[in-house]
């Protein structure tokens, strides 16, 4: 068996066994609360193929993307300013710490209460939840830029704009991307919360609706679908990160060997 196949087998056997076991043991289930996995899949598939789910998924993911994009723009800009001017950072520190500790989900009712159950309050809620890890990581990233690199830029009289774009930002990129990764996970949570709290569309709404109608299979199905979405987003992000920061990972490997 080639190494690749062996590794794939190692990675896949347990999940396959797990889902297989679930499928098999629940096959003839008559319990209200634990319907057969086969039925869950069937119901969800039906809603995907001909039902409202694709639209809902698009709504949810669209809001997530918009909120995350907003958080990235605000977080990186503000983070670069605060990272560059330590005095400003220290003065704002208590305020930042407080907002960081605040459970942002608690603000969802306020947003929805004030702005309604459309897309916009959800986007703002998501953005508010996502901005903190991005902001804090950007600050750390900017402050962690190698002094030697900054000095070189000074010695060669590189103008500030160019310095920001091609020295500071790339240097901080690994930290910033790590922040975005955390923000993505938070964004998914806020997205679901906002849709369960007040919505007329979206995957969270789909699950809530199903539970209110006591359609247990549909509720399970929606829940698993959300889990699947979370997993796909998370994995895709890691893959994208590996490509985007390939210089960083390649370098770490080389230096790891030589160090």
């Amino acid at each position: 068996m080639s190494r690749q196949v062996r590794h794939a087998a190692q990675a896949l056997w347990l999940p396959v066994v797990f889902f297989g076991w679930w499928w098999w043991t629940s096959a003839g289930s008559t319990s209200i609360y634990f319907p057969p996995l086969a039925k869950i899949v069937a119901v969800t598939w039906a809603d995907l193929a001909g039902g409202p789910l694709p639209g809902f998924i698009a709504f949810s993911l669209g809001n997530l993307a918009a909120g995350l994009a907003l958080a990235i723009v605000v977080g990186i800009s503000l983070g670069m300013v605060l990272g560059w001017y330590p005095l400003a950072l220290r003065l704002l520190d208590p305020v930042l710490q407080f907002f960081r500790a605040m459970p942002k989900v608690a603000l969802v009712p306020l947003f929805i209460g004030a702005l309604g159950i459309g897309a916009l309050p959800k986007i703002y809620s998501i953005a508010l939840g996502c901005v903190w890890p991005i902001l804090l990581n950007t600050i750390d990233g900017v402050r962690g830029v190698e002094p030697g690199q900054l000095e070189m830029a000074r010695a060669y009289r590189i103008p500030l704009g160019l310095r920001l774009r091609r020295v500071i930002l790339p240097a901080a990129a690994p930290q910033i991307v790590a922040g975005v990764r955390v923000a993505l996970a938070i964004g998914v949570v806020v997205m679901v919360v906002s849709e369960i709290y007040g919505a007329q569309q979206g995957v969270g709404y789909y699950v809530l609706n199903a539970s209110r109608a006591f359609d247990v299979a549909q509720t399970w199905g929606g829940t698993l679908l959300i889990g699947l979405i979370g997993y796909v987003l998370s994995t895709s992000f890691v893959i994208a990160e590996r490509w985007f920061l390939r210089w960083h990972y390649l370098r770490a490997r080389v230096l790891g060997l030589n160090a």
């Binding site: 590794h7 999940p15 005095l87 605040m102 459970p103 009712p109 949570v189 539970s211």
Partner: protein, 260 residues
């Protein structure tokens, strides 16, 4: 500018900044430049902030939330640490469980709320389940990182001396993984609080989250913000306590002997 360099100067500066932000906020809310249902004036919020600790309802809610979050955290530690270490200790186990762990950790536990409400109702037990499910992942992951960080030399030595597996666990792996586990617990604690409040909010289970939702329904926006304030405060306090405990318990570990 030199004034600002001193320690006291910075504190004053921070206070000044915080107060000016509050003042600006007050102004905007009063003048109606900002929607008062989104950002009520700090003065009104302050009234509630002062009044809440006098009410037993408030402390009951805090107690419920804290109890559920902490219980969930404790269970997550009891389950997550041994599992995490087992996963980290063996490459074969790590590889086998990787996919499932990834799926589990990227699962937004809040999405389980409707199912759990169907199964268990809006009870504290349901909250504990949610909190456990949410917090077990960071703890498990951090424990596995900790186990993987054990110097091969140390574990080889232990095995060479034929130290039985359970002693290897408690005396070699656990201490080595301790700082990682501590970090995991810290992350998990704030997360537990967040998830607990989130689920209370959505399902009207007793706790701080439900108070927020009810205040919102009653259109008492300053009260909502006051509760949000206390939620944040709770998170800060919990975090600070954990950091203190970590420092005390892990004083023996080289990584905590960092010059401050």
């Amino acid at each position: 500018m030199h004034v600002l360099r001193s320690r006291a100067g910075i504190r004053i500066g921070q206070l000044a900044v915080a107060l000016s932000i509050l003042a600006l906020w007050e102004l905007c809310a009063r003048r109606g430049w900002v929607d008062a249902s989104l950002l009520p004036p700090p003065s009104q919020i302050a009234q509630h902030v002062a009044a809440l600790p006098m009410e037993t309802e408030f402390w009951k809610a805090v107690g419920s939330t804290l109890a559920a979050a902490l219980t969930g955290l404790v269970i997550a530690v009891l389950v997550g640490v041994p599992m995490g270490i087992a996963i980290g200790a063996s490459t074969a186990v790590y590889r086998s469980t990787r996919l499932l762990v990834d799926m589990g950790r990227s699962f937004p536990v809040v999405a389980l709320m409707p199912v759990l409400v169907l199964l268990m109702g809006t009870t504290p037990k349901m909250l504990v389940v949610v909190a456990t499910l949410a917090t077990v992942w960071p703890i498990l992951l951090q424990s596995s990182y900790g186990a993987r960080s054990v110097e091969p030399l140390v574990s080889d030595t232990a095995r060479a001396f034929q130290i039985p597996a359970r002693y290897r666990f408690t005396h070699v792996m656990l201490p080595a993984a301790a700082p990682y586990i501590a970090t995991g617990i810290r992350i998990a604690a704030t997360f537990a609080l967040l998830v607990t409040i989130g689920v209370e909010l959505l399902s009207a289970t007793p706790g701080l989250g439900r108070e927020i939702a009810q205040a919102q329904e009653g259109a008492n926006f300053p009260l909502v913000m006051a509760y949000v304030f206390y939620s944040g405060l709770l998170g800060l306090v919990l975090s600070a306590l954990l950091v203190r405990a970590e420092r005390r318990l892990l004083a023996w570990h080289p990584s905590s002997r960092v010059a401050e």
